[in-house]
């Protein structure tokens, strides 16, 4: 169309008339006018020389010497509160859902004349998986999310980003990646969407590919439980809570280190380029609205995440029950797969049970631990603990859980490596789907699964070999 060309030509001619500095002039005019108008309307207070709480606080939390210790301490306190606080409601919920409701459902099924396999499939498989997820996940989430949201409402997150900005830039990534990483501690899939705040496609891809190194809420129960059983047990009882909290913090810090290392590697190989500059605004501190925060974080985050876990645990519970009960050549599918995976697992300082559990749990990380426990009991032949093959059970105390795991041949190495592997493996299916939607590329989606998985295998293998050499 000639009219298009006419327009562009007119524009070109007019640009010559207006001169080179036109763009600068428009921007200048804008800023000048903005300053003039707000100067007329706003009157600022007399500068007071008194103590300024916000400035002092900012100086403390963004200081190069005190910033990081404060950050790590806050993190540790939040985890400690979560670990210590979740025990009582967890025991209460499992008392109701598993000790009372489960036998009731079973006997109801029997009264209604359900065949054994239907009764087992529905109540030992599906119901128990859901009950486990609810009683184990709900309390820590109901404590952690409000705490995290309070910190967010107060304005602490941008300060964390400010502290980490320099490190991210050194790694060739965008400073805003600190914010998307923080989102990842809630949910990786949501965090992938939040990477839209990063303007450069190169840096956005780095943020997407490394987001999985932020452990999401689905992986905390694993981290917290294993830390309590294997690390907390090493410390005297009074300090075991602190020791387990510190173990979880260590895993988080390893995750952050991995984020930097992989970002650095990517920005020097596949995603070469310079880090772009941006200005990060430190918003004013605002008094958090406590009740509103608790309400919205319970509704928006806890229940949504819990619902997702429940939805995924239904089919997973069914699959676990099926693989444990379908016999081929004298042994169940589960037993055969575990035996097949065991050599690989042991080489990695893990075992076949853990690998199978991760395969079953690809849809959702939340169900790894129940799957591990159930399969361990099955393989170790502990029929007196669970009430039959494929039954997901809740053990009354961590001590009992520890007994099952020890009987299944678990050592401290298995515990440590499970924590590491839980940090370093492929993202869940929802996150992968989100990555595919956001990048529109099969290549980057596959890479985002393979990179952490390979790192996980290498790290676990290394730790296992080192452990073997030292002991």
């Amino acid at each position: 169309m000639s009219s298009h060309d006419d327009i562009l030509k007119t524009a070109e001619n007019l640009r010559w008339e207006l001169g080179e500095q036109f763009h600068d002039h428009t921007v200048e005019a804008l800023y000048g006018e903005a300053a003039r108008i707000s100067g007329r309307a706003v009157s600022l207070p007399e500068k007071s020389s008194g103590f300024d709480f916000e400035k002092t606080l900012d100086r403390l939390v963004t200081n190069r010497w005190t910033g990081f210790p404060i950050m790590i301490t806050l993190l540790a306190v939040v985890f400690w509160l979560t670990i210590e606080g979740a025990n009582i409601p967890s025991a209460f919920l499992s008392g109701i859902l598993i000790d009372s409701v489960h036998p009731f459902l079973k006997s109801m099924g029997a009264d209604l004349g359900f065949p054994w396999w239907l009764n087992g499939f529905l109540f030992d498989g599906m119901y128990l998986a859901v009950a486990w997820v609810v009683s184990v996940m709900l309390p820590p989430m109901a404590i952690f999310f409000p705490l995290f949201t309070l910190a967010e409402d107060f304005g602490y997150l941008p300060r964390v980003a400010f502290n980490l900005d320099g490190l991210f830039r050194k790694a060739g990534a965008h400073g805003k990646q600190a914010l998307t990483m923080a989102m990842g501690y809630g949910c990786n899939a949501a965090a992938i969407i939040s990477t839209r705040i990063i303007d450069s496609p190169r840096e956005r891809l780095i943020a997407i590919l490394t987001n999985n190194f932020a452990i999401c809420n689905g992986r905390w129960p694993t981290q917290i439980l294993i830390a309590t059983i294997f690390i907390g047990a090493l410390a005297p009882p009074a300090l075991s809570g602190v020791a387990s909290a510190l173990a979880v913090v260590t895993v988080v810090l390893i995750g952050i280190a991995m984020t930097f290392a992989v970002s650095w590697g990517l920005s020097r190989t596949m995603l070469k380029g310079e880090a772009s500059f941006f200005s990060l605004e430190l918003p004013p501190y605002r008094p958090p609205r406590i009740w509103q925060t608790i309400y919205t974080s319970v509704i928006d985050r806890t229940l949504i995440v819990l619902w997702r876990a429940v939805v995924w645990s239904l089919p997973a519970g069914a699959v676990i029950w099926l693989v444990s009960n379908i016999q081929i050549g004298g042994a169940s599918i589960a037993e055969q797969t575990v035996q097949f995976l065991d050599p690989v697992g042991l080489l990695l300082g893990l075992n076949g049970v853990i690998l199978l559990a991760y395969i079953i749990a690809i849809p959702a990380n939340e169900i790894v631990i129940p799957t591990v426990l159930m399969l361990t009991a099955l393989v170790a032949g502990l029929n007196d603990i669970g009430s039959g093959a494929g039954v997901m059970f809740e053990l009354d105390s961590e001590l009992a859980t520890a007994e099952v795991l020890h009987a299944g041949g678990w050592t401290i190495l298995t515990g440590i490596n499970l924590m590491l592997f839980s940090l370093l493996h492929n993202p869940c299916s929802t996150t992968l789907y989100t990555i595919y939607k956001e990048t529109g590329s099969t290549k980057w989606t596959v890479l985002s699964a393979i990179i952490p998985l390979v790192i996980g295998f290498v790290v676990c293998f290394g730790v296992a070999q080192l452990w073997g050499a030292l002991s």
């Binding site: 007019l14 428009t26 914010l179 705040i197």
Partner: protein, 278 residues
Amino acid sequence: MSTHIPQQCETCPVSPVNRDTAPARHGLDASGSLFVIALAGNPNVGKSTVFNSLTGLRQHTGNWPGKTVTRAEGSYSYGGKRYKVIDLPGTYSLLSTSTDEEIARDCILFGRPDVTVVIADATRLERNMNLVLQVLEITDRAVLALNLMDEARRHGITVDDRTLMKELGIPVVPLSARTGEGLGSLLQSIQDVASGQFVCKPKRVWTQSGKLKKAVDQLSSQLRSAYPNLANVRWVAIRLLEGDQRIAEAVRSGELERLSINHTQTVRKEKTRNHVVA
């Protein structure tokens, strides 16, 4: 002069006119909406909080810039009329190119909302004013909401909303969305502008000087005859004069017209969706 400046008592939340300040909230159900309202503003000025108080939805809010990266939609009724509200991602300017800022720009530019409410942080007005002026270049139906007035008071900052109103030529409403203070006046001002009772005379920074005004006028009339359906001809003309390659490409390929038609339809007819980034 048909400009109607609301009297003090009309915008005052306690006056009998505004006694019924609580809007009927419809959450996501925007069927039969009459007016489309877009919420724009710098990051972290409380857009989502205003959105939530208008619609009764509980979109997650947080004290950090960049929390909302997608468009959220909801609706409410006020004064017997229905309003559809679109919460846009925060943006410092309409000139830049990251995905979230583009969403905001395209929506105001091509979606032709009935009223664009620019939400500004009263404690940092100067920085926020850049976006306000850019929005006024695009649209002539806007309301400025001075949010975080409680915080401004706490810091001893006073903002003269009447001076701003005179300077900008649009209604200016002091607001504390977190406590709900001033919400009634905001609803009233939105209604005034949407219904045409208040006719804005927006400040146009770029075209007050002679030379540029002539160039923009010349290019605008040419654009208007080529694209009769195009909204915001002035903005497109200014961008072309600045040498914006994306807009130039859009003119060349005819994408511009398609974009403006599509966006108008999406904003008006699309089944209401809500994206919550938890």
